[in-house]
């Protein structure tokens, strides 16, 4: 009796202990996110004191004179991500339609899904390597040709410098393609079957159904997918560090070299000291604010539309 009592007391104590451990772990995760934000914010204070909000519109990044401005990097981040999204949305939505609208027998569909997952599983540094040796040799003559014939258009106003916006965004588009395809597919799949069957019974063709029923219903989910993919593209580092040319300048040309926040961080943190570290932290803070904001928006949209973020 006494032994049983003791065991019961022990296991009750363990029960309390364990539930506290889960509680701590759960809120510890929240605390971790807060800690990351605070740490990056705190570490950027010296740069904030020095440059204030003028940092956001400063155009030179000069470690030698210890003078820093973030505009070319913010510009590069937004433009490369937006360009990647523009390239990747039509393909991603097309894949989603192809995989959800009854084109394929389930087994073949499974194979295509496997291919899309494979695309997501390849490490970004390998995409970067591929970009250097396959994409840039193709885009460089393309850029030079466009510059020679359409140089009066600002988008083609410089000859190709090899690395630059276009090859970087092209590779980035491939990298966010699985996100776009998977989330758009989830949104399309959520269309009620009864509606589609009803329309088909009334004589609608497959594309009548897709354009007038599936896509309108999935529109907000697909929009959520686009926003989330934009966030991913802005935070992507290695492929850009290897392909965009690391040139902290603003140039409207698609084939000019540029730089993004993430790729500058990757290239500079290893040997940065003093105020440069603070300036890099300030940049990190900007990147964090941008991506957290965009991800929160995407999350709210997808939550509302019932789409589920798949983490591959």
């Amino acid at each position: 009796m006494w032994v049983a009592n003791k065991r019961a007391r022990l296991s009750r104590r363990f029960d309390t202990l364990f539930s506290w451990a889960t509680f701590l772990a759960g809120w510890g995760t929240v605390a971790l996110l807060a800690w990351i934000a605070l740490e990056v914010g705190y570490a950027s204070l010296p740069a904030f004191k020095q440059f204030g909000f003028g940092f956001l519109i400063g155009t030179d990044w000069d470690p030698v004179d210890d003078h820093y401005g973030a505009l070319p990097l913010i510009y590069g981040t937004l433009v490369s991500a937006a360009l990647a999204l523009v390239l990747s949305m039509p393909l991603g939505v097309a894949i989603a339609i192809f995989l959800t609208e009854d084109y394929l027998p389930p087994k073949v569909r499974g194979f295509f899904k496997f291919l899309v997952e494979l695309l997501a599983a390849i490490p970004s540094v390998i995409y970067g390597l591929w970009g250097i040796y396959v994409v840039i040799p193709i885009t460089t003559p393309l850029g030079n040709w466009l510059n020679a014939h359409f140089g009066w258009i600002p988008l083609f106003s410089t000859p190709s410098s090899g690395p630059g916006f276009f090859p970087a965004s092209f590779v980035l588009a491939i990298m966010i393609l699985p996100t776009v395809a998977a989330l758009s597919g989830a949104a399309l799949k959520a269309t009620p079957l009864a509606l589609k069957e009803g329309a088909a019974a009334l004589g609608a063709t497959r594309w009548d159904v897709i354009l007038q029923i599936s896509l309108p219903i999935a529109a907000s989910g697909i929009f959520g997918a686009a926003v989330l993919a934009l966030g991913r593209a802005m935070g992507e580092t290695m492929a850009l560090a290897m392909l965009i040319g690391n040139n902290n300048q603003i140039n409207p040309s698609l084939f000019a070299s540029a730089n993004t926040i993430a790729s500058l961080l990757a290239n500079s943190f290893g040997e940065a000291t003093g105020l440069q570290v603070a300036a890099l932290m300030y940049l990190s803070f900007i990147l964090m604010a941008l991506t957290l904001g965009i991800n929160a928006i995407a999350e709210v949209i997808l939550e509302r539309t019932g789409g589920n973020i798949r983490h591959i």
Binding site: S11, F14, D15, F18, S19, T22, F23, L24, A25, G26, G28, T29, V30, L32, L33, I36, V40, A43, L91, A94, I95, F98, Y103, E117, L118, L119, A121, I122, P123, S124, V125, I126, G128, L129, W130, I174, G203, T205, W207, D208, I210, M234, G235, T237, M238, A262, L265, A266, F269, G270, L280, M281, M288, T291, L292, N295, A296, A298, E299, H311
Partner: protein, 298 residues
């Protein structure tokens, strides 16, 4: 009631039929055209995948020597060498990442599904996990650089591993949560009805039932971490030598590929391709095993 049905819907006027068939034919052609377009787009998306795999296999395998797996990286302009220290480094980094993130991640998921299901705190924590999974991986490196590398004045394997654990944590939380939610409710109720307390139910019934699916999630997180470069590039840094303690910098496959990708020495570039092949094999094998584990548990 009569068994026959009569329909007295108004019969449409005859002349409009021609119109309708023409319209209908045009719609069919349009639909067919769009079918082809969608097919072409999907096919176009496969070309880059095929190209990446072809390059990695042809250039990676073409220059591969088994001795690469245990030799040290060559210095500039030198022949031969390998990436043994990077392979070991990646394995250690990922192990540290898993050791740090799996317990916290699984406990968090248990809190979400077993102790606070549907509550407000569960919603906040789940939202945090999703947001955390969207944090750019380089920021995990920036954070660890700020709290560890600056404080200790040292780049280290430990710092790199912890940076990876921040990326693995949300993947593990969300995968474990999904696995736990799939365990039927009656199992828990039966256990509680037999007099087990919550902890006993979780540890003896729910977790074992969800085990294989949780392992799948952990392996996916490991596969992702193994390929990550950004968070370790300025936390674990790189070195040409074997690692001798946890407080020293280490080489890793991903950083080796990055460092060797655009040097003017053929030997090093070829080695980057061979390292890519080995890294892809590691990542894909981990992925495939995790899928096999998941399928077996179904």
């Amino acid at each position: 009631m009569s068994a026959t049905l009569t329909v007295d819907a108004p019969v449409p006027a005859e002349p409009r039929r021609m119109d309708l068939t023409r319209k209908r034919r045009w719609r069919s052609i349009f639909s067919r055209g769009m079918d082809i377009l969608v097919f072409l787009f999907t096919f176009a998306a496969i070309i880059p995948l095929a190209s990446v795999l072809y390059m990695v296999i042809s250039r990676g395998a073409g220059n591969f020597r088994w001795s690469m797996l245990w030799e040290l990286p060559p210095s500039a302009g030198e022949d031969g060498g390998g990436f043994g220290n990077a392979l070991v480094g990646t394995l250690i980094l990922v192990t540290i990442g898993a050791v740090a993130s799996v317990p916290i991640g699984v406990l968090t998921a248990i809190f979400l599904t077993e102790y606070s299901l549907g509550s407000k705190s569960a919603r906040i924590i789940r939202f945090t996990a999703k947001i955390l999974s969207g944090v750019p991986s380089i920021l995990a490196g920036v954070f660890i650089f700020g709290v560890m590398v600056v404080a200790t004045q040292k780049f280290s394997v430990l710092a790199g591993g912890l940076a990876l654990s921040i990326l693995m944590l949300p993947i593990i939380i969300l995968a474990t949560e999904e696995a736990l939610l799939r365990v039927p409710r009656f199992l828990r109720e039966a256990s509680l009805a037999l007099g087990a307390n919550r902890t006993q139910t979780v540890l003896r019934i729910t977790l074992p039932a969800a085990g294989p699916t949780i392992i799948t999630g952990v392996m996916l997180a490991v596969a992702r971490a193994a390929g990550e470069t950004a968070p370790i590039i300025f936390t674990a840094l790189f070195t040409n030598y074997w690692i001798s303690s946890l407080t020293e910098p280490t080489a890793s496959m991903a950083v080796l590929i990055y460092n060797f990708s655009s040097v003017p020495y053929d030997n090093m570039v070829n080695m980057a391709w061979s390292a890519s092949l080995v890294l892809i094999v590691i990542v894909l094998v981990t992925n495939i095993i995790s899928h096999l584990v998941a399928n077996r548990s179904m």
